[in-house]
């Protein structure tokens, strides 16, 4: 795909991936009523790894990453995040959620709070950080996503790309060890996709563990250590980006890639 946002010829930065396991999913199954959304998912994510998950709509990719921070409940199998078992125990859920940041397709900023308040709400009320410290930290991350001058505006006054960058900064304010991205650029204009992807690439270069549901294949080639292809609730294929794009194994992957890259 000729992606204007990412220059695919740039050699992907090969950051160190440690042996430490960040997320371990074993034999996970999930149903919506009688509909079997996720089937026997097995996935191990090492610290510092950047994983891109792609697949046709309805394949369960969003559901998969939403299970990792318990926004969705799984019915069978085991999910372990940073050594904490995800169970119905509220304490475990709280612990995992405070270590896992998430960005959504529609940003989900709090429209009644300013950008700065969006970024300090959770640190103050969940992490019990003093307000001043929380604001300093928030300004630091807002500078990192390059919008410190918008701190006192409201989300409705910002463009889509700016809002998504604020959403990333808001997650970072909780100092997460793992970041989940659920189609972060699907609701954006082509021009704004680049500014969000640049922010994500920067984050990747700093060694953040990332799981990203996206159709930005340029981003996958530039940043990912591993690309996972899902269909009908199953992981069909996973490989290094180069191998994945140049030499797909299953027919379903080939079909998907030909459709997504062909046009």
């Amino acid at each position: 795909m000729a992606d204007p946002a990412i220059d695919a010829n740039v050699t992907p930065p090969r950051m160190e991936v440690s042996e430490e396991i960040a997320v371990q999913i074993t034999d996970m199954n999930k149903w919506y009523g009688s509909f079997h959304v996720l089937r026997d998912i097995n996935l191990t994510v090492h610290r510092g790894e950047r994983i891109v998950i792609c697949g046709p709509s309805g394949s369960g990719k969003s559901t998969l990453i939403r299970c990792i921070n318990a926004l969705e409940e799984h019915q069978k199998g085991r999910i372990e995040v940073d050594g904490t078992l995800l169970s119905s125990d509220l304490k475990n859920i709280d612990k995992i959620r405070s270590e896992v940041g998430m960005c959504f397709q529609h940003f989900n900023l709090f429209p009644h709070l300013t950008i700065l308040e969006n970024c300090t709400l959770a640190p103050i009320w969940v992490r019990k950080t003093p307000k001043k410290e929380a604001e300093q930290a928030a300004m630091h991350f807002l500078e990192k996503v390059k919008i410190p001058d918008q701190a006192n505006k409201y989300p409705g006054q910002l463009s889509g790309g700016q809002q998504q960058r604020v959403a990333i900064a808001r997650s970072l304010c909780m100092k997460p060890r793992i970041m989940l991205f659920d189609e972060p650029t699907s609701a954006l204009d082509p021009e704004m996709i680049k500014e969000v992807l640049d922010t994500m690439i920067e984050l990747a270069e700093e060694g953040m563990t990332m799981l990203c549901v996206t159709h930005e294949m340029g981003f996958a080639q530039a940043v990912a250590n591993r690309v996972i292809f899902m269909d009908q609730g199953q992981i069909v294929e996973q490989n290094e980006p180069k191998e994945f794009f140049n030499n797909p194994k299953s027919d379903r992957t080939k079909l998907f890639l030909s459709q997504i890259l062909g046009h």
Binding site: F104, P130, Q157
Partner: protein, 510 residues
Amino acid sequence: MSAMTDPPRPSFRLSQLIYDTRYRSITIQVVALVLLCAAFWWLIDNTVENLAVLGKDFDFGFLGDRAGYDINQMLIPYDNSMSHGRAALVGILNTMLVAFLGCVTATVIGVFAGVLRLSKNWVVSRLMAVYVEGFRNVPLLLWIVLIFALMTEATPQPRDFREGGSASMILGDSVAITNRGVFLPMPTWGDGAAVLGLVVVLSLIGAYLYRRHARKVLYDSGRLLPMVWPALAIAIVPAVVVYFAFAMSTGSAQVRLMAADATEGQSVAAYGEAQGSLSVCVPEGTIGLNVQRLLRGQDLRYSESVFATEAMAIDAFRNGDCNMVAVPAGMEQPLLGNPDIAVSALSESTTRGAPVQFEKPVLGGFNFEGGVQVRNSLLALWLALALYTGAFIAEIVRAGILAVSKGQSEAAFALGMRPNRTMNLVILPQAMRVIVPPLISQFLNLTKNSSLAIAVGYMDVRATLGGISINQTGRELEGMLLLGMFYLALSLVISGAMNIYNNRSRLKER
């Protein structure tokens, strides 16, 4: 050089007034204005002519005339010798009372029903749906009449409360529900009531300040102080302490019953038998209440005169207005050693009483006496308005909560926030913005619907100024104008107040 040509000057044709978008809107506005002026002129001219034919003038002087009719529920002193203006004021206060009670209750009911209708519990959500649909789809007038009929037909008569009767009072013999209304205990003020009131106000302010302080501590140091329990304690404990401090100290001081021509230490009963009749002078407040309890407890017949202060009661006794008087400890001086009347203390005594005591309604004669009577007309109107409007508010609340996208709570959860905090900090502030504007119009509706009081004979402003006063004076034009202006003013005040709130919490975009 090419000659500059003027843009073609359009020649104006009459048809452009209708077909040209530039003139069309002006034409329509001019026509509408002319029609409106004509309608107004016709109305006013017609009124003036008709008044002239009837031989009437336009005069608000009737408001100062004697009203001559009674009103069965008064929040301010009124009797039939007072003016129509005063009667209108009594009605206005009655309207505002039922509107206020109705708005508060409807909001509480509406919020509960709206939230519960979203419940995942099938039975609860179905029940709420039945409530909402039932009340929304049946005319309000029917509900008012139905509830009034239930209250007057299905409740016992006061005489059923006599000994051996079928009915009994509830809540420790303090509340009587009868077909003439509900009788509630009335608060009576004693020593330290003012201090107690002040303490209550100050501790409420204190509780509010504590919550602000707790938030500041959280912001400054990240320490989350407990919010609910300390605030509740600050609000309640000082008042309880002050209450008991007064009740134990000055409140427990003795009050003696002194009587003329009695023998020292005679009992009231014996004294009454000797005298033939008993009359007692008492001060207002808890002393009077306690004397009343003492005498009633002995089943004595007596008459009672109430005075503003202890000294005035004693003076009246010395003038011979009554043969007994309540004398608090330390105030015996003007009575003792007085050669004119032989005064001696009876054997019974009572106390000054706590800062607040409640006077229970007591069955006497054909009806209950004492306490506060809440008439069935008020109750039925209040309940029907609250339930009816509450059903609409429930839908508004449900819509408000549903209007906040699921993504908002998911984002808060993903940041590690618990559900209750997410509700308070994220969902409610946003839902309120959707809820408040339609809520204003529900409050206005309720206020104006309160004029359906006519169905149950509640004496609101429509019944006094817009009813009896008009009938008696024949000033229907003036009366209806005033009535309309009152409802307009009340509506403007309500919507003004709510709009201030609405503007302060509006979302900023662009």
